[in-house]
Symmetry: C2
Subunit: 406 residues, 2 copies
């Protein structure tokens, strides 16, 4: 089997963990597999490098920041190669130049375009474990780029696709994908399988197991993903097209607390006003999530929407700057809200799912402030303090603790 | 003018020093010069990375060690680019891949073969300060190599040669080349100029201002070097072909304490024995410096030679392993010795120089254990505890404190 394995920064944070991961890789080699490993920078290395940059310049250029922080992954792959060599495995580290990991030219948030397979193929054929720097690429100018958040996951999936790997294993600090965050819902159950679409909805809802971009790429190239823990040897969760979540309406419930709500009250009820409003926000790269429009007094309407809490200040600033154009009567906002969502391919053919969710929240005396739905997802906005009770109630209501995939 | 400037690790050890060096570079830009800067890794970065490697493997492969430690210089050039940008200068960092810094394939101690000039030329023409990683290259396999000790000096000289720079400035922690180490000989004088050959002899004798390989390359390509301090703005020492050291027999005295003496006593006096002995050592990359051969008892001879103190253990091990073949009677050694040398192009035409040196040592009651001479250098091996007195006596004897190059 040809396997791509990706380990995050905490899995390789110190010498002991590097050696531990090397032993795991060695087991795959012993079992006769061809192994490509994608690594992130060790522990807090990237943060430390960014702090170093800020000591010198408050606003360093993204090109130079990429040049700086990409050294972290190069250190990880070299150290892992040494660890494998010390155990008498053949291993070779490769950076983005050596692999030929081509991206577009956007520094700090580049997209992979093309991966040269020749060098990796040659090293695998020579019997080497290939260790590749995650998170980084080179652009058409031969400059180093980085892929943005979750970039190493994307590197791993892209390599799995380019190299026709049988499986792409993403090692994280959790044992897999759960019906809910086990730190919040005590009887949450680990899923054996989940579909790409369900995983995408979970990821976008704050279940920080896999980054969206990597799941999208896995779906596009039909790469079988496995989410598992580098600390335990427990079986993980497979993410694939034909995932079977037996007899269950939904496969999980997730909460996102990086949410804020903004209400633009008493905006003129003329055509194009909503477009003008959201266009102003999108021009500044502010993503709007749930939108609710309601009729206000005297020929006006109220538009309420959510943004990430990180961008609340920016969004309010834009709305205030353009108060003259938007002609609203009042601006209200709240950042003590949270979004709770349920996801499941099963809900497409089961219209009662939403009702069941609302019933759970009603029984728990939780106010629903906004609602948003897609084919396989229902999200509600509630007060942040209600998150734990809401998740437990929903989890119980759908009997997710009974999930069984044997 | 086109200038190549090289700063060592201590000159860029922290944010404050990086900004200080950036200001110096900025002055050259303001004066209308084209500037290429070669940087070493910050402060103790390389040592820290090597320590990290040793935590994982007692004997990491040189390929992976090069991959690891080459990240240090990449961090330096990126940080320096940020510092220059923050002062509104245009600057771009380039690593060995981006420049096209081709070396032979020897990891850990590679030799530069060819430097692509296209990218650097383009960036200079666009008005950018070009910041290049010192100490590293890439080999024919696209693997990272490092150049060994003094590697960043070599990078700077090689770039100055390839880019036809008018001057190559090497910034160190001393203000230039002195008639003797000012920490040992109080009235040592800074030289205004020195020839390549004299500089080579001084370097090989332990005056750790410039690495031999870089001076050799400067001589070969006739690159005018300037040795100066990054801390003060004092004028440095020019190293060039037609250096004028007026009316002085010698230009400097230097001491090297990284020396050990080995005596192979009672070796058979048959042809080829010396060859066998030194061949065994050279096969293990042990450099022998001064050699003395003397007649021993009963058809035997004694061979005494010096090696660097670092390689004493290895040398002794080789001699012991091959005792059967070499058939010596005894092996003696000492590591409390030092080599003191005088250098000067003037001594070629002045046969009394050696006598004058020996007279100084005799007057100071210092025993000479071995002697070695070249056209422009005389070295003596003495006890280590006598080094300071020896250097002061020689410095006084030749009136080096009177040196004047105005």
């Amino acid at each position: 089997m040809r396997i791509v394995k990706k380990f995050g920064g905490s899995s390789v944070a110190n010498a002991e963990r590097v050696l531990n991961v090397a032993r795991q890789i060695g087991e795959d080699v012993d079992a006769g597999h061809q192994v490509i490993v994608v690594l992130s920078a060790q522990g807090k290395t990237t943060d430390q490098l960014i702090a170093k940059a800020r000591e010198i310049s408050p606003n360093p250029s993204k090109r130079e920041l990429d040049m700086l922080i990409s050294t972290g992954e190069q250190q990880s792959v070299a150290l892992m190669a040494m660890a494998l060599e010390s155990m008498n495995y053949k291993a070779i580290s490769l950076n983005a130049f050596q692999v030929g990991m081509h991206t577009n030219r956007v520094y700090g948030n580049a997209r992979l375009k093309l991966i040269d397979t020749e060098r990796m193929q040659m090293e695998l054929e020579r019997g080497y474990v290939v260790l590749v720097t995650g998170f980084q690429g080179i652009n058409r100018y031969d400059d180093v780029t980085t892929l943005g958040r979750g970039g190493s996951d994307t590197t791993a999936v892209a390599i799995a696709a380019a190299m026709n790997a049988d499986r792409c294993q993403i090692y994280t600090d959790v044992e897999g994908v759960y019906t809910a965050d086990p730190r919040i819902v005590k009887n949450a159950v680990k899923l054996k399988e989940i579909s790409y679409d369900e995983m995408l909805e979970l990821a976008s809802m704050g279940a920080k197991v896999l980054h969206n971009r990597s799941v999208e790429m896995a779906k596009k190239y039909n790469v079988v993903l496995e989410v598992l823990s580098s600390m335990t040897r427990a079986e993980g969760t497979l993410v694939k097209e034909d995932a079977k979540v037996e007899r269950m309406l939904i496969s999980g419930v997730a909460a996102d607390t990086n949410v804020a709500r903004i209400s633009v009250v008493g905006i003129q009820d003329v055509p194009g006003m909503a477009f003008t409003l959201f266009n102003l926000l999108s021009q500044k790269n502010i993503n709007v999530d749930i939108i609710l429009q309601s009729v206000g007094r005297e020929g006006t309407k109220d538009i309420t929407f959510t943004v990430s809490r990180d961008s609340l200040e920016d969004a309010l600033a834009i709305l205030r700057e353009n108060a003259g154009q938007l002609k609203y009567q009042d601006l209200q906002y709240a950042d003590n809200v949270a979004k709770v969502s349920i996801v499941g391919a099963g809900m497409i053919s089961n219209p009662g799912v939403a009702t069941k969710m609302f019933e759970a929240l009603y029984n728990a005396h939780i106010n629903i402030r906004m609602i948003s739905t897609s084919e396989i997802k229902i999200s509600v906005l509630i007060d942040e303090r209600d998150v734990q009770v809401a998740m437990e109630s929903i989890h119980d209501q759908f009997k997710l603790y009974q999930i069984s995939q044997q």
